[in-house]
Amino acid sequence: MRARYIAVWLAGIFIYFLIVARITLFDLVVAPIISMVAALIMGGEVVKKPYKAFSPKRWLYGLAYMLYYLLIVEPTCHLRVASMVLGLRDYRPDIVEVSFDYRTDYAIAATANSITNTPGTIVVDIDPRNKKYYVHWLEAYTRDPRVAREKIISVFDKWIKRIFED
């Protein structure tokens, strides 16, 4: 219970120094106070399981995922959809169902944001009880859920599980 607030507090100090990007004695005194105000208000909500926040392995996986995502996944999708905009490639938009099997909120949100951030797929709606995303897909040549899952979600699946799940 107490560890949650400490995790949020430390993260807040880190964010403060990222934003101001200078280290003086004044900042070192002020940053814990600022971060404490935010942690007291929102601390109980932001982090639910503090042992995850303190594990460096998850942070390393997160960094590696960001690099992989920004350098490889995004540019290919960008070029594909850009050629659709310019009329060089055909498209067939439709809404398909994609199932997922995460338990934590952050894993669900991170996967949905990863899907939406790649041009060509948008999470339109989510059914948390039946564990389904409704994804608007620009290349929906098939409506088979298994194929759709393979094409849309499998790129992110193992990374997200390593970062946010148990």
Binding site: I15, A82, V85, N113, N117, I122, D125, H136
Partner: protein
């Protein structure tokens, strides 16, 4: 003027320029695509390729500008990385929120006319 600085500034500048091109393509796509959901895909190009990549590019460019101390360079680069990651988090959430509102209020996705006939 060292070689590394020149290389970094050229890489950053090229990324910024390509980001501008992506932005232009996205704006074209927003005007060319037939319905709301397909326009969202063009918007995604505009927010990721047209906003996140140029910001990272300018963070690289700052390290190539001659005559700055390391502290000043970090004062530019670190907030830029914060802005980039913020856009990575918030932009898809906003698109999702609007798409959900449109879907729930009964906006039908566009299909090609020929495919409707086939069914």
């Amino acid at each position: 003027m060292d070689l590394g600085g020149i290389v970094l500034s050229i890489i950053g500048g090229v990324i910024i320029f390509v980001g501008g091109l992506f932005d232009l393509i996205a704006a074209l796509g927003v005007n060319r695509f037939p319905d709301f959901y397909t326009r969202l895909h063009a918007i995604t190009i505009g927010t990721i390729g047209g906003a996140v990549y140029p910001i990272i590019g300018s963070a690289i460019l700052v390290f190539g500008v001659p005559g700055l101390s390391l502290g000043v360079r970090l004062s530019f680069a670190l907030p830029m990385l914060v802005i980039a990651s913020l856009i990575l988090i918030t932009a898809p959430t906003g698109s999702h929120a609007v798409a959900r509102a449109a879907y729930r209020s009964g906006l039908k996705p566009y299909r090609r006319v020929s495919e409707e006939v086939k069914k």
